[in-house]
């Protein structure tokens, strides 16, 4: 990693919000579609959800690469050590889940006997064969990881608002440049 820059560059900011939007949409669709009665629309939603998941996985990988090359700005001076640690681990876990959730979804789909075909065009190989019992376990794992994501995102957003409204530092403005006071 290079020495920390003062702020996030435009690519990092765009990727952050793109993935945030993607996660919000895909996660909501996931919870919505799973309780729907069987219908063509439901089958479509499942495919869209999988395509979105593959996209988020690819974007998350690209973000990690981008971050490794360009670095991320340091935390504001004088931030307590526990907040440092909390921020560090929240970010790490967010990245872990951005990769683990699509992976678990892909495996779960294979175990249920449905290959993932990206945009209905690009078949993604099945790593595991059809196994309904494993499919059930992976479904529960996928759901559990998503509740973890929901919790982490709440912490992440809550901390950002706390920095902006209580600490009145530039942590949120680094990701939302229009908030900058200058």
């Amino acid at each position: 990693m290079t020495s920390s820059p003062k702020t996030y560059n435009r690519t990092a900011i765009s990727l952050h919000w793109l993935v945030a939007l993607g996660i919000a949409g895909t996660l909501s669709l996931g919870f919505y579609m799973s309780d729907l009665p069987f219908s063509p629309a439901k089958l479509q939603y499942y495919s869209w959800h999988k395509w979105a998941g593959v996209t988020i996985f690819a974007l998350a990988l690209f973000r990690l690469l981008w971050r490794a090359i360009h670095g991320a700005p340091a935390a504001p001076a004088g931030m307590p050590a526990w907040q440092h640690a909390a921020a560090e681990w929240t970010h790490r876990l967010l990245y872990v889940l951005m990769l683990a959730i699509p992976l678990s979804g892909w495996l779960m789909s294979s175990a249920k006997g449905f290959q993932t075909v990206y945009f209905g065009v690009l078949p993604i190989p099945d790593l595991i064969g059809k196994d309904p019992e494993l499919g059930h376990s992976l479904t529960e794992l996928h759901e559990l990881l998503n509740f973890g994501m929901l919790g982490l995102v709440l912490m992440h957003a809550g901390a950002a608002f706390k920095h902006h409204l209580i600490d009145r530092d530039d942590v949120l403005a680094r990701m939302l440049p229009f908030l900058k006071k200058s």
Binding site: F38, S39, P40, L43, Q44, Y46, S47, K112, G113, F114, Q115, T116, V117, G120, V121, P132
Partner: protein
């Protein structure tokens, strides 16, 4: 060596006697009747667990062969528990009104090289269509093995009506795949 040549001789004898025999008894536990379809362009495998057949196939007289199948439609597995819960309903197979699908052969044309073209009538959900299936035959010990793929269009049989009639999610084309193992009548 002696044992080996004895086994060879026995094998030859078995295949000779089998060659003269007529394959007529379907070995259900060795046979499989499956199908492949596409759902959102994703290939999905399904199968029928229970079916009966009356077969008559003499490799020496293939043109005289005949086949008739009765398939218990409710024994279908479309590849997912959720799909299986739906597929017996009126929009799909309506198994309450049409519990049995049937294929009856009308003509068998030898194509050479143990390949045949089997023409016949396929009835599903009360609708009958003329179909032609390429079938290959091979001997497996004392048994005869018939394999083939029969492409059909689900709409021809009204499989998937109403909201499912559109082919955008579930494709019209369905490949029926069969591997039938039959014993020779002694």
């Amino acid at each position: 060596m002696k044992l080996h040549s004895a086994a060879l001789a026995l094998g030859l004898l078995v295949s000779l006697s089998a060659g003269a025999a007529e394959y007529s008894q379907l070995l259900a536990d060795k046979s499989a009747l499956g199908f492949t379809y596409k759902q959102m362009n994703v290939p999905v495998e399904g199968s029928f667990k229970r079916f009966k057949a009356q077969l008559a196939f003499d490799p020496a007289q293939p043109a005289k062969a005949s086949a008739a199948f009765d398939i218990e439609v409710a024994s279908i597995d479309v590849g997912s528990a959720e799909g299986n819960g739906e597929v017996g309903g009126k929009l799909w197979f309506n198994t309450a009104a049409f519990p049995t699908a049937r294929f009856v052969s009308s003509a068998v044309k030898p194509l050479g090289n143990s390949r045949f073209e089997v023409a016949g009538k396929l009835s599903i959900k009360g609708r009958t269509q003329d179909v032609v299936a390429p079938v290959s035959f091979k001997q497996d010990g004392a048994n005869g093995v018939f394999e083939g793929v029969l492409p059909i269009k689900r709409a021809d049989f009204g499989i998937g009506e109403g909201m499912w009639a559109d082919f955008g999610t579930v494709a019209n084309e369905v490949q029926i795949r069969f591997r039938l193992v039959a014993a020779a009548k002694k």
